[in-house]
Symmetry: C2
Subunit: 450 residues, 2 copies
């Protein structure tokens, strides 16, 4: 029995110690009982040098599975470390779905070698799978489906299964098809074992089951699994012919990747980023995001520059102006995050966006007033000027209202333009709150104080 309670951190220290002391047999001990996904996590948690030394100790039988479980960028580093023969060997045990996932990441020469080493059937299957769009049910589905006919008895089904000997992992139901291979329903193993062997499949099968179109988006498939508590589901083409099935463990991966993507994209990062990527390529990738931000920062500076005259005369303005921009930014990012979650869940539509906008403006007005009072009081005490208090209070309310509106309108607009709101929402929002914040505060000051 593997020790399910050993933490990743503990495993990492054991690996670290073993490599430091050059005791490779200790490394083997750590990974001996691990699942490929656990080995993958270990590899991802090691700096390059240690990573490669661990990778060399991973048994070849699980190399392919491990490659499937690491993030794209880590995968690329591991593949670089293997020669062609090793890659072909590692991938030879994988099924078509998994192979298709790896295939496009392989060096061209290796991919060609691999195709040549396959038999005709495998090659055709792989090409069929690759023909489906990425992130569609066709790419997710497994073809290890067991199909039976509706007119046979449970007895016959069990005899058939005994003859086959092995039922694939995560099979909770058999597929029932008609004579042309068209999907007609499912027969759960639970029903198969709990009913009289003389009964016909037709009497027990579930024909109300949800079948998945092969072109359905992975994300929608995941929603279906979640709302219907599915373990597996049949995949059909547009004529209703059974092509395969999607299983829950692949769906769990889709859900996890989706959420990781949302988190990473909000900081302008790629969810496939390797925690231990080398400095140069990492710096390059992040530079783009910094450059975009620099544009918005210069825009804000340009706005400030319009009021040089006011700033020269009243230095308190320079001291206080970041507060107005910052409070707007925070309030806006709260609204934006709520909207991004709502859009991800599909909850925001034309029928309720108006209501939502009114609600967020209401919240912004309330919090704007409350915090304007606080800020104004502190500003008056600090700079001993009632006028500055009044101006910063007004500017704060204006900016918080703008933030509330922008927090709803920007993600909706980006979505309509086909841009991921999680990726670019916060940059656009900050631009708005900076510009409105500086403009309203310095503008009001210019009008009323000069």
């Amino acid at each position: 029995m593997t020790d399910t309670t050993e933490t990743l951190e503990h495993r990492l220290s054991r690996i670290h110690l073993a490599l430091e002391q050059e005791r490779l047999e200790w490394v083997d001990d750590v990974i001996a009982d691990l699942e490929p996904a656990e080995v993958a996590l270990l590899l991802e948690s090691l700096p390059p040098n240690e990573r490669f030394r661990l990778w060399e100790r991973v048994p070849q039988e699980i190399d392919g599975e491990v490659l499937l479980h690491v993030h794209d960028e880590v995968r690329a580093t591991l593949l670089e470390d293997m020669d062609h023969a090793e890659i072909v060997a590692a991938t030879s045990g994988l099924d078509t779905t998994d192979l298709a996932e790896l295939f496009e990441d392989l060096p061209r020469q290796v991919a060609e070698d691999m195709l040549r080493s396959m038999d005709e059937l495998q090659r055709v299957r792989l090409q069929e799978t690759l023909a489906f769009e990425e992130d569609s049910a066709g790419r997710l589905m497994r073809t290890d489906t067991i199909a039976v006919r509706a007119d046979v008895s449970l007895e016959t089904v069990q005899r058939f299964l005994r003859w086959k000997e092995v039922v694939p992992d995560n099979t909770d139901a058999l597929m029932v098809v008609d004579r042309d291979g068209r999907f007609v329903g499912t027969l759960s193993l639970a029903r198969l074992v709990a009913n009289d062997p003389d009964m016909a499949v037709a009497n027990l099968m579930d024909s109300e089951v949800d079948s998945i179109q092969v072109t359905m988006k992975s994300r929608d498939v995941a929603t279906l699994f979640q709302t219907h508590d599915l373990v597996s589901a049949p995949v059909v083409d547009n004529r209703g012919m059974l092509l395969g099935r999607v299983v829950i463990d692949d769906i769990v991966d889709v859900i996890r990747e989706d959420s990781e993507q949302a988190l990473m994209n909000m900081a302008g990062l790629d969810e496939e980023e390797d925690l231990f990527a080398p400095v140069l390529p990492s710096a390059k990738r992040r530079a783009i995001w910094l450059g975009i931000n620099l544009l918005t920062a210069f825009l804000a500076s340009w706005v400030i520059g319009l009021f040089e005259n006011a700033l020269e005369k009243i230095v308190a303005l320079a001291v206080l102006m970041p507060i107005v921009a910052s409070m707007g930014g925070i309030a806006g990012s709260q609204t934006l995050t709520l909207a991004i979650r709502g859009l991800a869940l599909g909850q925001i539509s034309r029928t309720n966006s108006q209501w939502l906008l009114r609600k967020e403006v209401g919240i912004a007005a309330l919090n704007g007033l409350v915090w304007a009072l606080v800020v104004a009081t502190l500003a008056v005490l600090w700079f001993d000027s009632l006028a500055i208090g009044g101006i910063i209070a007004t500017a704060l309310v204006i900016n918080m209202l703008a933030a509330g509106v922008a927090g709803i309108v920007i993600p909706l607009l980006l979505r309509r333009l086909g841009i991921d709101p999680a990726l670019s929402g916060s940059v656009v929002l900050t631009t708005v709150t900076d510009v409105v914040g500086f403009m309203s505060f310095l503008g009001l000051a210019t009008v009323f104080l000069l």
Copy 2:
């Protein structure tokens, strides 16, 4: 067959139209074929007024399930709308695990009524479940486990199942126990149906299977399910006695909630927040976050105030200073997000945090130099002063380096202090990048320009 391709948006418009036209039978049409989780999502996507009108049309049989699927805050609004008898009726069909999840949200009087309406066995079970810590396997597990003995034949097992007639949802394996009820292994339904009926359970069962301690954290259970591709897993107490099983659909909920929490916490929001919460309570909750941010904003202002003298003399400083703070903030949040993901996956430990810090400082140095050059060039062109260019470039490099260090050190420190880095990491980080940014830029200017 339900129309699995109808989007939530489309359902929402249908509900909206039906309510507008007072055609309640159209509402019934929309929800007739939906799963409780889909109804829950619909309810969450409606403003209060429409939400209550839909809730009244939801058939009582699924009320309990729907309540389980909505976020806590939405649940509270729905419960408020029900009288005691309705709540007791809605929850009567739920199993102990689900009841325990709802129980603590119920008004005290209703909870007492409910306990009274239960039979002795149910009450004891509920109290046992409630005794387990929240977010532990004990709260997650279902007790509908089917257990068999190792010394019987498959034939006997099947006769037993036929006698029971119903096998619970998501049963992929039967539990095998010894005469004292101690867990010894699992027998998958797949093996049960694919093998000779005369064989003994002992010869086919998997005794290497991972069992889960009842005190294990939900999050760790979820990791185990993901790394081992499990559909269900046995739960045992510290003596190895079988208590129940955890099933994948509850794990999918744990994974989803976890990721939602990370996203929402980063903006200082509660993941249970209702998208359509009323203005006043929403404003109150968010006010705390704004208040915390105001403290950091005033701290930044105070730093700026230290350099009033410099600002009075050179207005360009006021114009350019937000750029230094903003670039540091963005660079820092990239590092912070990467660290938060790494911590969530358990990938960052004492053995690799040094390496990670060096890498992030390296990236910060590179990007700092590149963007310092760009910013300096623009500043020189704008204000026609080489000195200002040199000062902003230096300040930018300093702030980016500080951001790189802070992006790693802050989340590690917060974690050590037992504070969720996703919740407070960004506030602390922004404080650092603001203070360092303003201090270095204005400080250097004071030294070299005055």
